[in-house]
């Protein structure tokens, strides 16, 4: 049987095409968007301001496309890790991080990742598939705490800029008046610095941007992050300097700290030189060791010292509190590798 298309994840423009093709009145597109993203309908049948015939027509061609999580784990600190099925029998994880003043969901944009960063658990799983915009925002919609969310960060599995079309589409749905109508200032999208896609993101979205730096030095960053072979951190920063981000839009740099590797005075100097004059902030992140990793996390006292040194240089620096480590929901630990069926006929 042919699989139906899904409605959830379609933009208003795409819905306009759908209703036109089905011979429905033009305004039905807005009504459908309303049910999908505002009224949070669970089924096409619930779309009660569409005629019965229209609902029947829609149901014939479409599924809603909402997917409940298949597993939830809760950390001692209240963080929750949700497992969501994706297409092709694959899975992704999302991490819900409650704090006093904010409730953040960290969403995935790909199943696995192609970027091969040395310190990342998702990277160790290789790449399996892109997520659709619907699968990305399904994570926002389908967690138990959906209505409590104050922030969404695209910092889960995958490199968002390597799936830029679907990521931009998901952002459009989250921030448009016809969609979730969130302020883009509640959304932060991370990247390791895929420059062309990052340009598109900067130009076509208004969400915050977080860059994974992890080293200011070329040779060192190349070993940690293969992307540095193609797009250097210098180029990424040079690109950022091309834009006026205004006062509301934030650029931040993520910096995972590796003991004896990237936590020296020379690194403080290197970072301050690199970011000179750029309005931004730096988040220092504890490294959560992954199996067989040659890297170890910098001790907390050293992180504090590093943070102080950067602050002295005029760079607003904070140490990000680690959350959900006991359920492997912390930064860099999301992975569904054990659920990926091994291809026995692989080529290496």
């Amino acid at each position: 049987m042919e699989q139906k298309e899904v409605l959830f994840g379609k933009t208003l423009d795409e819905l306009k095409v759908v209703v036109k093709e089905m011979g429905l009145p033009g305004f039905s597109a807005g009504q459908i968007a309303d049910w999908l993203y505002k009224k949070k309908a669970g089924s096409i049948e619930e779309m009660s301001n569409l005629s019965k015939k229209a609902r029947a027509q829609l149901s014939e061609r479409f599924d809603m496309g909402l997917t409940p999580s298949s597993k939830v784990q809760t950390s001692a600190d209240g963080t929750k890790k949700y497992l969501f099925p994706a297409h092709k029998n694959l899975f992704v994880e999302a991490a819900y991080i409650p704090e006093e003043d904010r409730k953040t969901l960290c969403v995935s944009s790909q199943v696995g990742c192609k970027m091969g960063c040395l310190f990342c658990m998702t990277g160790k799983q290789g790449f399996q598939s892109q997520l659709t915009a619907g699968e990305i925002i399904n994570q926002v919609r389908s967690i138990d705490e959906s209505d409590l969310l104050t922030n969404v960060v695209y910092m889960g599995m995958g490199e968002p800029m390597d799936n830029i079309e679907e990521v931009l589409k998901s952002l459009q749905i989250l921030t448009s008046d016809w969609g979730f109508a969130w302020s883009p200032r509640r959304i932060n999208v991370s990247t390791i610095g895929v420059v062309p896609a990052m340009r598109r993101f900067i130009e076509e979205s208004e969400a915050h941007l977080a860059i994974s730096m992890h080293s200011p030095f070329d040779e060192e960053r190349k070993k940690l992050m293969p992307i540095q072979q193609v797009y250097t951190i210098e180029q990424v920063i040079e690109t950022l300097r091309d834009y006026d981000f205004g006062r509301q839009r934030r650029i931040s740099f993520e910096y995972i700290m590796f003991d004896g590797i990237n936590d020296t005075a020379a690194h403080v100097k290197g970072i301050s030189k690199l970011l000179n004059g750029l309005r931004c902030r730096i988040n220092l992140i504890k490294f959560h060791p992954i199996p067989d990793s040659p890297l170890r996390g910098t001790p907390h006292e050293r992180m504090v010292w590093f943070s102080e040194q950067l602050n002295k240089k005029g760079l607003v620096t904070t140490i990000r509190r680690s959350r959900g480590e006991d359920i492997y929901a912390a930064c860099g630990l999301l992975s569904t590798k054990t659920l990926v069926k091994k291809d026995e006929q692989q080529d290496y």
Binding site: G112, G126, V194, Y348
Partner: protein, 223 residues
């Protein structure tokens, strides 16, 4: 909305000299060469200047008069299905070369799968054939692109691993099994990896397990 000051990477029109399907679904395209490059660099390419650019490793030598790229046709992809239809005389837009997967030392091991062979082909075609050892993995024998060239250039330093088919000149089995067991894996050597992400992370993990420090592993990813 943030206003752009500068446009995306500049691309230049080049004439296609040839476009050959070297094995089903994999093509070698040769276009006019406009710039000098360092073997191991990439170019960004597109059929129309308004399309998003895609990156390809250069697969030709620095003295060769053309620029060669290898590519898999991705069904539903934006560029490669169209690229496969290009004929001699058609135009492909190509950026100036960039990237730094370069300067592999002479005693390095080069490890590749699929079209990840491209930067190594460029290095070898540029004359770097006396020291390196090339390990290439493939599912089928037809996927050892440019094998005849590498056999001549590298002799016994060209090791092929095929998982699905057997051939007297090819090791039947996984490249990763060889890396797990071979005494030839040495911690002090440099290892240059190029191919899909799954190969890069699996091989890197294996090398780390074998005691190779991460500083000695240089990876180029395909995305």
């Amino acid at each position: 909305m943030s206003q752009p000051v500068r446009r995306k990477k500049e691309v230049f029109p080049t004439k296609v000299l040839s476009n050959t399907e070297i094995t089903p679904g994999v093509f070698s395209i040769e276009v006019e060469r406009l710039h000098d490059f360092i073997p191991g660099q990439v170019v960004a390419a597109a059929i129309n200047t308004s399309d998003p650019l895609r990156l390809y490793s250069i697969a030709s030598g620095k003295e060769q008069p053309f620029l060669r790229l290898l590519y898999d046709v991705k069904p539903g992809g934006l560029l490669t299905p169209q690229m496969a239809r290009l004929q001699k005389g058609d135009t492909l837009y190509v950026s100036a070369p960039f990237g730094r997967f370069t300067k592999a030392p002479d005693d390095a091991w080069w490890i590749a799968t699929g079209t990840g062979i491209a930067p190594f082909l460029s290095m070898a075609e540029s004359g770097q054939t006396q020291g390196p050892t090339l390990l290439q993995g493939a599912r089928y024998l037809t996927q050892f692109y440019y094998a005849d060239f590498f056999k001549t250039a590298f002799g016994e330093r060209y090791l092929r691993f095929c998982t699905a088919e057997e051939h007297p000149e090819v090791i039947h089995g996984r490249l990763t099994n060889y890396l797990k067991e071979s005494d030839a894996v040495q911690a002090g050597r440099k290892y240059y990896l190029c191919g899909n992400a799954n190969m890069v992370v699996d091989v890197r993990d294996l090398l780390l397990e074998r005691g190779v420090p991460f500083e000695n592993i240089v990876a180029e990813i395909y995305f």
